[in-house]
Amino acid sequence: MRVFLVDDHAVFRSGVRAELSREADMEVVGEAGGVAEAIAGIKSTRPDVVLLDVHMPDGGGVAVLAGIEDGPVCLALSVSDAAEDVIAVIRAGARGYVTKTISGAELADGIRRVAGGDAVFSPRLAGFVLDSFTGRSPVPEPPLDPELDSLTPRELEVLRLLARGYTYREIAENLFISVKTVETHASNVLRKTQQSNRNALTRWAHRRRID
């Protein structure tokens, strides 16, 4: 599995590289410390998965995602777990979001899952999606978009269990469905959470004073 690292901290990049080198099926094919460098590097190396930092100078992860349309799948990796950051980068097209406190093994697992087409949901991420969906958040934050209303009750149920810290396997047991179905539900949630076009994304980002 070919992985590309994007992070503006060289020390962190080398740490991730060291962690991933323990996994037999992982290979770090390149790394970048800035947006332009990242876009060029990803286009030339064609990796399977991009590990993407959210906060960088000159635009951050959202800018990279905008620059590599129809590129490889991206897993966002950030020290921040503020709702704005998580939702923004997911909406820009990342297939998952993990925080930098994650262990090396969990990170490798997350990379495998996004490469296989799954969405990687941390409980926190599931909580944010639920929170935006319900619009009951006390912070004056507009409910995301009507698109979100299309979440089915089953998908909401899956999200709730995810937010409670259940693994996909445990959710499958709980709901008497297959793990594959849980993964499909999670992916659907992510797909529905994303904006259908980039103009809407820009508007949305502007509304939240992002970038």
């Binding site: 406190t101 599931a126 909580g127 009951r136 958040s137 006390p138 937010a163 409670r164 810290g165």
Partner: protein, 475 residues
């Protein structure tokens, strides 16, 4: 002619050679080196100052007389009298006073003048103004009076306005005190009115009204021209001002961040270096510091006391610190503690019961599960608040626990059920435990749309109980 000359000579008694011959003195430079010569003969309590400053706290009009008196080591009454007498000379005292007010900085004293002194000084000031009008009237007849009276009016108006701009303390954009009172505004408006009226009288008395039209046009055109010519200058000044302000704000921000990092992160790092051989303590320090910094960076610092989500996060942090586990809290929605019974929040007893039970569940998980991480999930829905505390640890057989020693069930279940809530405990040996706490929202605030069977009371117990049974039997 300088007002302080004679007074100065009188006070010095036997002046130093060459010193008494200098009747004038520069109000800005003050005395200069001459002051360090012989000690003053007359020292009236206040320490003589090297540089002439006006009184700040002890002032009545501008603090000029007081400042001069302090500076010269004179009685303030004598200085004031000198100004009054000089005012009689075609208003020279008034002009001198104004110039000194403009050119001398204000002092740092704060002692207020006594009521007697204040009344006396105001009386003297009025006397000076009256004298200047009366004397010019006597000397030159009514024509001069026409000029002197408006000048006095202008002087009084200017003094009123200056006093307001001349106070210490925070300033608003216009230079007035940050929170101007009605009196402040009244003084400013009255002063401005007097200045405008006085100047208007002077101008109108001199200028033929018929010629005024063209003169006014000329003035207006000149002003507009001057304004247009200086537009780039104004713009540059504005830009420079804005740049400077932005730089200052950035700098302040930077300093605030630096001081916060110093207080938190650097201190913790220093502690960690000292205790590097105690991994548990290092982990505890790092965890609590991470939580604190995260909160500072990514969360709004709002009123946290009455927010359920914030309270749960705080409790999670306390459990983390006390029991050396990592708690990952996820909250969906939020509810405040209902302090004034408005029906929107959660009643205080329910709120505290929920928090207490959640803490107990987390502490239990930390103590007995034997795993380093605990998941905490709270969701606020219109009809109920649910809290889930989950670990992937040892677990236990619920049926095997004797009914009489269920500390967990008592402290958690008892607390919640007294408030009309429900607790489910789900545990499988080897696969962990989940404590589910459900608390109905206040009966009065329950929306019409909420299902009737979730309302607290006899009807509400049935379905939840059924779920619990099914959950138990299912496992």
């Amino acid at each position: 002619m300088h007002p302080t000359g004679p007074a100065f000579d009188a006070a010095r008694g036997a002046p130093a050679p060459g010193f008494g011959a200098a009747p004038g003195f520069d109000p800005v430079r003050g005395y200069g080196p001459g002051r360090v010569g012989p000690a003053p003969v007359l020292d009236l309590g206040r320490h003589p100052q090297l540089r002439l400053v006006r009184r700040s706290g002890g002032r009545i009009v501008g603090g000029v007389s007081g400042g001069l008196a302090d500076h010269l080591g004179l009685d303030v009454f004598k200085v004031r009298m000198a100004f009054v007498l000089l005012s009689a000379l075609a208003g020279a005292g008034i002009v001198t006073y104004g110039l000194l007010w403009i050119f001398t900085p204000s002092g740092a004293d704060s002692a207020k003048p006594s009521g007697t002194e204040r009344r006396q000084a105001i009386g003297l000031a009025l006397l000076g103004l009256g004298l200047s009008v009366a004397v010019s009237w006597l000397m030159n007849g009514t024509v001069a009076a026409k000029v002197i009276v408006p000048i006095v009016v202008v002087a009084v108006g200017a003094a009123l306005v200056w006093r307001e701009y001349d106070t210490d303390g925070p300033r608003s954009l216009l230079g007035l005190p940050a929170s101007p009172s009605v009196v402040t505004w009244a003084r400013v408006v009255a002063g401005a009115t007097m200045v405008v009226l006085g100047l208007g009288v002077v101008v109108l008395a001199r200028i033929d009204l018929s010629a005024l039209g063209s003169a006014l046009i000329a003035v207006a055109v000149t002003l507009i021209g001057a304004g247009l010519l200086t537009v780039p200058l104004w713009l540059r000044m504005m830009r420079a001002l804005n740049t400077e302000r932005a730089a200052r704000i950035r700098n302040e921000e930077r300093e605030e961040i630096a001081s916060h990092l110093h207080d938190s992160v650097l201190q913790t790092l220093a502690l960690i270096q000292r205790q590097a051989d105690d991994p548990q303590e290092v982990a505890r320090l790092a965890r609590s510091q991470e939580r604190e910094l995260r909160k500072w960076l990514f969360e709004d610092s709002g009123p946290a006391q009455s927010s359920l989500a914030a309270a749960l996060r705080t409790i999670a942090g306390e459990v983390e610190d006390q029991h050396g586990v990592k708690v990952t809290p996820v909250t969906v929605g939020d509810v405040s503690m209902d302090l004034d019974d408005c029906g929107n929040g959660l009643p205080k007893e329910h709120f505290t019961a929920l928090l207490g039970a959640s803490r107990e569940a987390m502490v239990n998980a930390a103590k007995h599960a034997g795993v380093p991480t605990i998941d905490l999930f709270a969701e606020v829905e219109p009809h109920q608040v649910s809290v889930f505390v989950r670990d992937r640890g040892a677990g236990f057989d619920i049926a095997a626990v004797p009914q009489d020693r269920q500390g967990l069930a008592k402290s958690i279940r008892g607390r919640i059920e007294r408030r009309g809530g429900q607790v489910e405990i789900l545990s499988t040996p080897g696969r962990g435990t989940e404590v589910r706490i459900f608390m109905p929202r206040s009966d009065s605030g329950a929306p019409e749309g909420a299902e009737p069977d979730t309302a607290p009371g006899t009807a509400g117990d049935q379905p939840t109980e059924r779920i619990r049974q099914s959950v138990r039997s299912g496992k």
